[in-house]
Amino acid sequence: MNRTSIKIAGSSGSGLVITGQMMMHALKQKGYYMNSDREYPSLIKGGYANYQVDFSVVPIHSLSEKVDLVLAVDRIGLMNSLDALKSGGIIVHDDDRHDRIPGLDAKAKAKNITMIHIPARKIAHDNGGNELMTNMVTLGLTWRILGLPYEVIAAEIEKKFKNKPKLLEIDLKCLAAGYAAEEIEHLPEIKLEHPQSVPETILVEGNTAVCLGAIHGGARAYFAYPMSPSSSILSYMAATAHQTGITVKQAEDEITVAQMTLGAMHMGTRAFCATSGGGYDLMTETVSLAAMIETPFVVVNCQRPGPATGLPTWTCQGDLDMVIGSAHGEFPRIVIGLSDPTSCFELMQHAFNLAETLQTVVIVLTEKVVCETKRTVPIFEQNTIPIKRGLVTDKDELENLEPKDRFRINESGVSKRWLPGTSPAYYFANSDEHREDGTLTEAAEEVVPIYDKRMRKAQTILQALPEPQIFGTEKDADISFVGWGSTKNVMLDVIAAAKEKGISVNYLHYDFVWPLKVEAAKQFFAENEKVCLLEGNYLGQFGTIVENGTGEKFLKKFLKYDGRQFFFEEVLRFVDAINSP
């Protein structure tokens, strides 16, 4: 698998994202598969940030630890570029005084880095452009180094600025000047494989895919309070509200958000909300209420490292124990982990179906690196996951319902649900402990059966959940992994790369993280010798659940909690180390 990585580096707010995304769109037109990430501080402007794009002629799912080329847009970018590069890599920059950065040249030399200086600022100015347009010059140059045809990137720029003809003209001049690369001696070249055709893909980030999944799945209301990295869900839902007709409300706080979602769900629409860990804390009392009144509830928790404010713009898988353990009282719940845009699109639909048919709380966990990463994926298939609501809708049945059908004690723990007002039978959704019709009870002999019923639902849930999936060789792998969420992305690339090296790797992936489908894990341990954990937190939270559930122990745990995703190479090294200790 041949992959190329490019990083656009500089200070936050200096046009990194726009530049990166224009490049991605152009690469897409050429037929490349891509993945990307944006690293930035929790500041509006200033501080080191970067935008990385990895691409290949085959689908890729992870990012490289080190890149082939850094496009340094300013001194901060330049100073951070050496560490980001592979040895033999290239830096494109416009820092006249780069030789005054102590040790830079020497280090570059030692690492065999080619530094290409282009007077981009001057070029931009000469063409009537401003500061931000220097990025066009360096982008043009980069495109040239990649050996890609000028028209493709130019067409992208034209599309982007078609409503601003003046700007466009200057932009194109800058781009062309960069591409021309005059006065640059020894222009290096990055030799790319070229796609045979342009696959039908979309370039989309996880949070957008979450929205699309919800919208396609019939969600009609979205409530939120801004919080990184969930805020882009709110932005997208609001931006598309005219098209979708969905009620989108930015509310005054997360408690409100949760309560509004619950109220709306209770009446019978599909509503959801999203937040991050700290906001989720505030929602937990409402989660407990949803469980008690058995009203479906779907909440997306976009994980970032904690505790407290933590690293608000970075990634992790640290809230699993929290969403399983939080919210007072005992009740079953479902936790789903998102991994890539396709899973975001599909699992959101499942989330609603499970929440409604099982009358339960569904917590969808995603991660900053899933939320905000743009990647190419096949165009989402619609209408593959029918809406399932588990409502009584038959006229006759509705006419003949009794109030106590609502929480009737039964084997599955899932009683009949109908929408308020659709049947002459009304019911009380009572946060107090109650009888089958929702009337309050404190009698021991009435409390126990309804408590049992609610808890029995855990079994029904477990049966309803799909099995986890094995990627790579079915069994007897040289090395095996278990994981959830974004772990899948890096594993897919590692499996392929290891195979090329002759190492068979497989990976057991849980989309449905809780309750644990334990038999699959047991079998996986039974059929594979060296089973390891790959998880983005300190405690190996999911790992502990698997160990406790199966009674097995992982051979090794590769845990990461520095706010960064698992990079392709580091996992490959881990595989190598296990394989030849």
């Binding site: 919208i215 509004m260 009144i293 007002g421 002459p424």
Partner: protein, 305 residues
Amino acid sequence: MNCNCHSLDHINGILDHQDVYLDFEESDEKLTWCSGCGNYGIQKAVFRALTLENIPVKDAFFCYDIGCSGNESDKHGGNTIHGLHGRVLPLAAGAVLADHRKKVIATAGDGATFSEGINHLVHTIRNDYPVVFVLHNNENYALTTGQASSLTREGQKMNASPDGVFAAPMNACHFALSLNATFVARSFSGDVKHMTAILQQALRHNGFAFVEIMQVCPTYNKTTSQEWFLERIKYLEEQTEYDKMNIDEARKVSQDLEENITMGVLYDNPVGNFIERLPQRRDKQTTLVEEVAPHDVTKLLATFR
């Protein structure tokens, strides 16, 4: 003056719709509020108002807070949520946004409304969600055995305030008015007819209807008793001049809680509720509930190709 509180229409109206009324009242379980509790009267008035407005059980939806006010919420006809302490307003707002054809009635105590949930009160008022809110103001936390709320009067000795409360009480209606609520009314738990009339107007209001019921709690609030109130109540309906659309006047008459306590619709000035003002919903005829169906996202997807 469209108040019918001193006429017989009221009772005749109920008689005309006995079936509707009985659907609400129906329950074989005994209510367990203390004897003399103002909640009995409030509940009755709510059912009467719904009846007189011809809103049957199936078109009403009740959201109850946790407190004495919410106790007994499972002893009448109607679909209900008895939710969490302090959270009834956003719950009701969510419910009505989903299904605006229902009349959503939210009920909470003064503790819930002015302490635990005052953030919700502020923003429910600002957003003008079309909910009828019935504040059971008994000037204390009754269900937790008589602690002070933000509406307990200065100097009152309460559970956990043995020296007497030393912050001045908030004034419920005045606070709502300071936030430009579009409907603000006050009534008294001892006057079912007046409450009924007020609640009828609240039910007709297009937007958030804030109804404060000054409620007696003979168990924990000995000071502002039935008698105490009866001596001090002034009915706005008896004042022919009053302009319900003048917020400054409303603020003025709402202020006195000691000598002349004004009862009535203090302010009523609908501006078009939240749903009507939401651009993407303005022209929709359906409810969000009815709209749940697979939504084609092809066009949205196209922007990512």
